[in-house]
């Protein structure tokens, strides 16, 4: 599948933003990150900025962005619509969460924070299900893909929160949580790659042409001499050697290096943590962009079988 920059950026940024919102709402009442509005409000604004930037980026993928509001209507059947509804529904409690923090109404802050956290988790789950529900795409139609989105969002969000908390001079728990989630995310990503590599093709050229009874089916002449939408969109191929390298980059940059840096920051604390933790969050986001680009680039669609053996 063609890795469209708009979607790669959208899923990565909004995943991290929702993750940040989620953990802020959960760790703040537990006293594991600084409880003052001076910490909570800027972190919340960062989360909403990431989410909003991601959502705006996703609009760039639309042929008719001015009609985007229509996407909120089909939540009964469409995961994309559900994602839109969940995203929009998360904004009011998130904003009220911020106002409650500013007003010092701790009880309300907890309630609205938890509502926003629920919305954040639901939105990211819907994002994952958009991809996991597509039967023609071998590497996406897997049980771990949607949980993977949750874990990656939780990890990058926790890394950002840990970075902020370390800058504010605290948050050892957030650092440890982020390091732990990095390890979990690493395990999940490796499992998804293994499952994707082992998954059988959902259909073959022989079954897609109804010619199975004659044996193997090889393309002889394509419909057009020039390229076409379907080939550009579904026929994207990444060189095997490059994919292997990019997987290593995603693995080290996205998971291993941030895990080590976050772990080290948790042990060191103080100024070292304040330097290391934000850097770890930045590295994690960069690695996650590579991971997300690969998620699209490595995905294969049954339509490609019509065009090449």
């Amino acid at each position: 599948m063609k890795p469209a920059a708009s979607i790669v950026v959208f899923t990565t940024l909004s995943g991290a933003g929702y993750g940040l919102l989620f953990w802020l709402a959960l760790l703040r009442p537990a006293g594991l990150v600084p409880g003052s509005a001076w910490f909570g409000v800027p972190v919340l604004l960062l989360a909403l900025a990431l989410v909003t930037a991601g959502l705006l980026s996703s609009l760039l993928h639309l042929g008719r962005p001015e009609r985007a509001w229509r996407a909120l209507s089909q939540w009964r059947s469409s995961w994309l619509s559900r994602e839109g509804v969940a995203a929009v529904a998360t904004f009011p409690p998130a904003i009220l969460f911020g106002l409650a923090m500013l007003a010092g109404r701790e009880g309300l802050a907890v309630v609205f924070g938890l509502l926003a956290a629920g919305g954040a988790a639901a939105t990211v789950w819907c994002t994952g299900m958009i991809y996991a529900s597509l039967a023609p795409i071998r590497e996406w139609h897997l049980p771990l893909v949607a949980p993977g989105y949750l874990v990656f969002g939780a990890f990058t969000g926790a890394a950002l929160l840990a970075g902020g908390a370390a800058l504010a001079g605290g948050g050892r728990a957030a650092l440890l949580l982020a390091a732990l989630l990095a390890a979990v995310a690493l395990i999940v990503k490796r499992a998804i790659w293994a499952a994707a590599d082992d998954a059988p093709a959902p259909a073959t050229a022989a079954s897609l042409t109804g010619l199975s009874r004659f044996g193997t089916v090889r393309p002889l002449d394509p419909p057009t001499t020039e390229t076409a939408y379907l080939m550009r969109e579904m026929g994207f191929r990444v060189a095997r050697a490059h994919a292997a390298k990019l997987r290593r980059i995603a693995l080290w940059g996205g998971f291993v290096a941030p895990a080590l840096m976050l772990g080290a920051a948790a042990l060191a604390g103080g100024v070292a943590a304040a330097l290391l933790a934000p850097l770890a969050a930045a590295v994690a986001l960069g690695g996650m962009l590579v991971e997300r680009w690969l998620f699209f680039a490595e995905a294969t669609h049954t339509v490609a079988a019509y065009y090449r053996a």
């Binding site: 009609r67 229509r70 619509s81 023609p136 939408y229």
Partner: protein
């Protein structure tokens, strides 16, 4: 509404005969011609008169080689929307632009509310949906909904443009939900198949497989005997002529 109808009154669709299709692309060009100016029009082209020409087509004609060695054959394969009974292209649509009609099962796009997110193209395993970039919306085969019910056309022409154009009559149109219809009987007779049924989309269209080719045994010619000019004896030559009559 992108929820699917529980059942459709009819299942209109195409039956395509891969035995008689010669891969001439007449169906594709007739389709482009009709639909470029019908309810789906325009079907945009990019660089139509220069290198890199491409555009929206509802019908794409592939050619394949199936089988091995002496048993292999060339098969021309027209690919278009199969108007599935459980089309994920409809259910994934976030806007309600995609829908399946309860009365005849035709899968359509309302271009006025489509946002061009292209998720339906991802959800279709058969490549039936194409993005019209200049228009910013998805386009797909309508089964020539603006022909088949068109009372201003002679009844014989109320079939999809591709069916009407096919010079070898390899394309048939009808109600595949009615076991007594001509198309259903054709499918039963010829062992018509659905494409990739394992994906669970329950396509309505059927493809008739190529027939087995006639086998010509390479037998040596029978000995025709000597030519008349080779018979020296006039009497025997006369007998040969009489018996050869």
């Amino acid at each position: 509404m992108t929820s699917l109808p529980e059942r459709t009154e009819r299942k209109l669709g195409l039956v395509i005969d891969l035995d008689t299709c010669v891969g001439c692309h007449a169906c594709a060009t007739a389709c482009k011609s009709w639909n470029g100016s019908g309810v789906s029009g325009p079907l945009s082209d990019i660089n139509p008169h220069s290198a890199g020409a491409e555009g929206v087509w509802f019908n794409r004609i592939h050619s394949y080689e199936a089988g091995e060695g002496e048993d292999s054959r060339t098969v021309h394969f027209p690919r278009s929307c199969l108007h599935c009974e459980t089309p994920a292209c409809v259910t994934v649509c976030p806007t309600g632009a995609s829908y399946k009609r309860a009365e005849d099962g035709i899968v359509l796009v309302n271009h006025d509310i489509c946002i061009g997110c292209q998720l339906c193209a991802w959800a279709c395993p058969y490549g039936a949906r194409e993005f019209d970039e200049p228009e910013g919306v998805m386009k797909k085969c309508t089964l020539c909904v603006d022909r088949i019910y068109n009372r201003s056309m002679p009844e014989a022409e109320r079939v999809p443009a591709c069916v009407s154009a096919c010079p070898t009559r390899a394309r048939h149109f009808g109600d595949l939900g009615d076991p007594g219809s001509d198309v259903s009987r054709l499918v039963a007779e010829r062992g018509g198949v659905a494409l990739a049924p394992e994906l669970g989309y329950a396509p309505v269209n059927r493809y008739l497989p190529p027939r087995d080719p006639k086998r010509f045994e390479a037998t040596p010619p029978k000995d025709p005997g000597p030519l008349p000019s080779q018979i020296r004896n006039p009497l025997l030559r006369w007998v040969d002529r009489i018996l050869s009559r």
